[in-house]
Subunit: 220 residues, 4 copies
């Protein structure tokens, strides 16, 4: 279901004489390439992964990859662009209750999504510099769009007097960095469940933007 900028997408109407079986096989191979590349890029980094390795994972010779992606760079681009698109789409269609406090909703959504797609998230941070400028810009735009979701929430909450945030943009980055750091250390089956994590971070975020500090007992 993830969106994908794969090569064969624009060929839906292409000559049908090749038979749908061939096309289906090709699409399946493309998907296997994506999956193999995702795993490898996440594990070793884009620059350290060779087309030969991906081909071996897929069970195909290196040359065959070029039937599905014009270059190695395009595989990375495909993965990163579709990750960003998927992220934004997932937010739109999230099944978290719309009645939930928007900040809570964002925090829960972000944590859940990022713990579910650790590889995609990881490479979308690590491999930015390996994207060609044009693709880099696209990803950055999407990322800013995603961050704007949170900034809007913070600004609206501030206007409504629910949160006290001095600089919503900075706070956005602070919160997102904090949340995005989770998959770097969280391991399933450890001391804390995903829901535990969610509550702990939610608490931190809530307090960080809480409108008032009760008494003079503050530090400093």
């Amino acid at each position: 279901m993830p969106s994908s900028a794969a090569k064969t997408d624009d060929r839906a109407t292409a000559a049908a004489q090749a038979g749908s079986q061939t096309r289906a096989k090709g699409q399946e191979t493309a998907e296997r390439v994506r999956k193999a590349a995702l795993k490898r890029f996440a594990a070793s980094g884009y620059a350290a992964v060779s087309m030969r390795e991906i081909a071996a994972d897929v069970g195909v010779r290196p040359g065959a990859l070029y039937n599905h992606f014009p270059t190695k760079q395009d595989i990375l681009k495909d993965l990163m662009l579709s990750h960003m698109a998927d992220l934004l789409a997932a937010w739109e269609t999230s099944d978290l209750s719309p009645d939930m406090d928007p900040l809570e909703r964002f925090v829960r959504f972000h944590i859940r999504y990022h713990l579910e797609r650790t590889d995609e998230v990881f490479i979308s941070y690590m491999e930015l510099r390996n994207l060609e400028p044009v693709n880099f810009r696209i990803v950055e735009t999407e990322r800013r769009r995603y961050e704007a979701l949170l900034t809007d929430i913070l600004e609206n909450g501030r206007t409504a007097g629910r949160y006290a945030v001095e600089d919503p943009k900075v706070t956005t980055r602070a919160i997102i960095a904090m949340l995005t750091g989770i998959p770097a250390w969280y391991r399933e089956g450890g001391r804390l469940s995903e829901r535990d994590i969610e509550e702990l971070y939610l608490d931190l975020v809530r307090k960080a933007v809480a409108p008032e500090i009760p008494n003079g007992d503050r530090m400093a």
Copy 2:
């Protein structure tokens, strides 16, 4: 002044005939290698940087690099190990007032240090996976030691009733991720000064661990 695991350091007892001038020249070259590699690794990633590029930056032929570092991997190791050592040493010798609230002190220290050494910080996060296991473990140990500084602060503050932190370890990671994210977007000469950043983040952190939640006006 940064610490360094450089090659020639342990040779104090070697035959002295080669002259101190020669050796001094070598040490300077090693330092230039370190600097060039740091810049390049930060900009393009370890895997994408060639020894030839580093050599060209240093103004030396590729083979000469091997008089100072046995392998490319050792350059990375040197940079990462000395970064971690420097970080911990800098904390010990920080000139931030010891009377300051410990959490504030940590936050200010962390932000300042990380904005001053962006390249070192960057590669110490990005290139972890390119470290050989043995060096990886060393860096991880040092990192845990650094994190423990904050965890201790939080635990002590909690005991003293100054902070309310449900899970000091998780809070440690949350705070560090938040703060470490700064250099990823902060640019000198922008809208906010380093001191502005410091105050904004300090405020977020203080509130996040503040001992009480003000009123029933909380979200949810």
Copy 3:
């Protein structure tokens, strides 16, 4: 016709789409690699020959060699293993009359074969130490098998009273060393023909294992 452990031999079941013409071209290239390497190894020694030189001889870029042999070592292994296999196979199918005295037959076979395949013979002696242990052992086993042919002949002849050999194993080595030394100095077109050589050495061998020494006219 020489046997060969070449890379593509075991791939009969690979997908057939690449076409037999492509594969045939590859096999021919592999054969040219073998020939070039054989000449170069014999002339300069394994260690002194570069893959670049072999590639240049073949008329191909260095990287292309690796489509046919995974490493330089594998070329050597291929040459040495197939030489030993060929030698043993040639003995089995020799067209020298089976009615001939077995020792004479062995001597003639050995001389002829070794004067025909001087390069293979040469590297099979000179480059033994450049073989990886596992391949070294294989070659040694084959060599011992070849030597056993002569040892058996000597033992049978001794039992039959035709030869007097005190220690067939030592005599085997002595004879083989003697015969194998021929190509080191023999040059076609010189004073002696191959047949002359054959007769001279045959005479030496016959006498060396002759059952009796006639009279007291022996030296010492």
Copy 4:
């Protein structure tokens, strides 16, 4: 006691102010270089041995080798030329009884010398092709001189009717190849002692050149 073409030989009269201690130290180093190179060349072959390895064996930095030998090639040349000189000198001063049959004397001498100096013998055969032409020619001349010793013995013996050799030059090569092959397989402490070997080979040689063929029982 082995002769040597080492660099420092021609400097006997050089300025004495450096002190004999320094010179002695240098000569000792040169000798250690020779020994290390001999072992390494014999084990791995000239081309596969690096100056760094030799230097490490000697306990010195690579550059220091050049105080004793102008090039790597000169080390090889030194080893091979002095081996040939030593071999011929050893023959001249052999303590084998001059009353012994000359062929027996040669065989015993050759076997003993070659089992005593296996490394020198080995490289003098294996590394011939790595000698520069001019040095190659010198070694070949010496070798021919050595072979001539045996040829002369055979010719004299033939004239005297003691041996029957159809072609003394070919017989020379046959005998020398046979004897020189011994160190390739002989191992001390095995089934046979050096003296056993000597007797066995002596017997083979004696018979091979024996003046008469006993009876009609010959093969073929």
